[in-house]
């Protein structure tokens, strides 16, 4: 019974995904969908870091820029194919995270937030001023489309399938990590560092691992971003962008991988959908985010999943069993 409904949901999802590019006629809208997909990959990385391991990054767009510039420079300057620049982008962003994480994650609380913010600012300046290497504010132009064995991913429609495929692969890999000893160690660290430590979890290394994995997803997103837009400049990866990514993860539900995905799509489309309001668009956009966060502090996906949990529990508790629990009553207020 459970399996059947699972298959039906999968089929429905597949049909929806396959039909999206046929339903959306404008290339522009499809491009925005594709951008949202790329952000979704990066935001899943933030879920790893913030939602699972409890560490805050204020500079995730800097890690995205590492991926983007790595692939951009390798492809444009050295004419390397996508199959090489893509993994290179991921590895370089992971190395950067390692470099930042080793000195800062030993410290408790919000040092990582400040360090990543610092990275974001410093890297932005480097990208603008190291003209010989990064082309400064002009950015890198004419980044080639990825091609595999003669087939080039050219149209927005092709990009849609490409990005969704990578998004799904990233999701499955992340989900597998979440449901393993490693995911549990992340969550244990977030819930209580001392308890995790005396259970044999090396808290310091666990935080570094979460940051590096998170950066791998940011690098993936940055790489796709560069090849989709075919143009990157420092301003694509400024502090505001980092904060937007963070908002996406919190808005969707920072403790759920799918929440990050939902947050990325919704927050990318909200401004587009409000465009008809013209001058008021940004104002309403802000108010809407505010309202939803007040009504659903655990994010859109968090609310849905806690509703499901409540339903499940009610079903289970029908027989007269179990004492009333305080935490439940607390949860009702939300």
């Amino acid at each position: 019974m459970k399996k059947v409904s699972k298959i039906i949901i999968m089929l429905l999802l597949a049909i929806i995904i396959l039909s999206v590019p046929h339903l959306i006629k404008s290339d522009y809208t499809l491009h925005v969908v594709n951008l949202a997909g790329i952000y979704a990959i990066c935001v899943m990385g933030l879920v790893f870091l913030l939602g699972f391991a409890g560490q805050l990054s204020l500079g995730h767009s800097a890690l995205m820029s590492i991926g983007a510039y790595t692939t951009g420079l390798l492809a444009v300057e050295l004419n390397l194919p996508f199959v090489i620049t893509f993994p290179a982008a991921i590895v370089v962003s992971m190395l950067f995270a390692l470099l930042i994480g080793i000195p800062t994650l030993k410290l408790k609380s919000f040092y990582l937030a400040m360090a990543t913010r610092g990275l974001n600012i410093a890297l932005f300046i480097v990208l603008i001023n190291w003209k010989r290497f990064t082309h400064g504010a002009d950015g890198i132009v004419n980044i080639p489309r990825p091609s595999f064995a003669g087939f080039t991913i050219q149209t927005e429609r092709a990009w849609f399938y490409f990005i969704v495929a990578i998004l799904i692969v990233c999701y499955i890999a992340s989900r597998n990590i979440e449901k393993s000893r490693i995911g549990r160690s992340f969550k244990a660290v977030k819930e209580g560092e001392l308890a995790a430590e005396v259970m044999g979890i090396d808290v310091y290394r666990t935080k570094i691992l979460a940051f590096v994995l998170s950066s791998a997803l940011a690098g993936t997103a940055g790489c796709l971003f560069a090849h989709l837009n075919q143009f990157i400049c420092p301003n694509d990866f400024n502090i505001t962008q980092s904060v937007t990514l963070l908002s996406m993860s919190i808005f969707g539900g920072s403790e759920y991988l799918l929440g990050g995905v939902v947050g990325a799509y919704v927050l990318t489309f909200l401004p587009e959908a409000l465009r008809f309001l013209q001058t008021y668009a940004r104002f309403i956009n802000g108010i809407l985010i505010l309202l939803i966060m007040i009504l659903a502090p655990s994010g859109l996906f968090g609310v849905v999943s806690s509703l499901f949990e409540k339903l499940k529990r009610q079903k289970k508790l029908d027989p007269p069993n179990n004492s009333p629990n305080i935490a439940d009553v607390e949860g009702m207020e939300n």
Binding site: A173, N176, I177, S180, R181, I182, G183, R184, S185, K187, A188, E191, G192, L194, A195, A196, E197, V198, M199, G200, I201, D202, V203, L209, L213, S323, N325, A327, D328
Partner: protein, 263 residues
């Protein structure tokens, strides 16, 4: 080299000072394999500090701690845990927003070894490891009598069940030495009996236990031997019977406030 007759834990002249205050003062203690040691003393006598020293949460100011002849006095807590010393806390330190099952599974961290790539691709060895962990977790949850609550979030459990769950999480790691810091604090008499049965079971399996407790009947009934601390100093050590007969202990501790107030 480890000898079969060597003590499992040897504490040598350990002092823990916070500024001028000596929370633990030149304490020597030896624990044999399979021994249950009661650790008693009035509030502030250094019992919890000693537990924190053994588990690596605090580092001794001076002196050394050996576990199976290995010096662990400078090791970080996660290293000590992976060697086989696991502990509970006086105030419950579970992972409140995770399920009962996930809490116990997290306790099995040192008993598993799958790396990022293995879990990402769900390799065969990773899956069989997870299966083993899951089976053991269910077993441990059953052992402490919490079967059926596996999916429940820990923060929804009453305190007594949380205390029991902490024991299950510790046992998940298959430790050879367990440090229990007031495992029955806040428990009902029935739940206390439950804990007492579990400790007896552990003894039958050959585990060593250090038991910090205020409930005298409980600790004297369970322990093979008892160490008494007062203001950081070891004032007595012996079998429960000897301890009860020692005048100074009775005067300082057993006789006056403790038995009536805390038992």
């Amino acid at each position: 080299m480890e000898n079969i007759h060597d003590p499992i834990l040897r504490i040598e002249n350990v002092t823990l000072a916070f500024g001028g205050l000596k929370a633990v003062n030149s304490v020597d203690m030896t624990l044999e394999k399979g021994e249950i040691r009661g650790l008693i003393g009035p509030n502030g006598s250094g019992k919890s500090s000693l537990i924190n020293l053994i588990s690596g949460v605090y580092k001794p100011t001076s002196g050394k701690i050996f576990f199976r002849n290995e010096d662990i006095s400078k090791s970080p807590p996660h290293k000590i845990a992976s060697l086989g010393i696991c502990r509970t806390f006086q105030t419950i330190r579970l992972f409140p927003r995770l399920s009962v099952l996930d809490n116990v599974l997290a306790g099995g961290h040192t008993k598993s070894s799958a790396n990022v790539f293995e879990v990402m691709f769900r390799t065969k060895s990773m899956k069989s490891e997870e299966k083993w962990l899951n089976n053991r977790a269910y077993e441990m949850i059953n052992l402490v009598g919490l079967s059926g609550l596996e999916g429940e979030k820990v923060r929804n459990l009453p305190q007594g069940q949380q205390k029991l769950l902490e024991i299950a999480r510790v046992l998940m790691a298959e430790p050879s030495l367990i440090l229990l810091d007031e495992p029955t604090a806040g428990l009902s008499p029935q739940e206390t009996d439950e804990v007492s049965k579990i400790i007896q079971l552990l003894k039958e399996q050959g585990l060593s236990v250090i038991l910090v407790e205020h409930k005298m009947k409980f600790v004297l009934g369970l322990s093979d031997s008892v160490t008494v601390l007062n203001t950081g100093l070891k004032i007595a050590e012996g079998t429960p019977k000897e301890i009860q007969e020692k005048d100074e202990v009775v005067r300082a501790y057993l006789g006056s406030e403790m038995t009536d107030a805390k038992a």
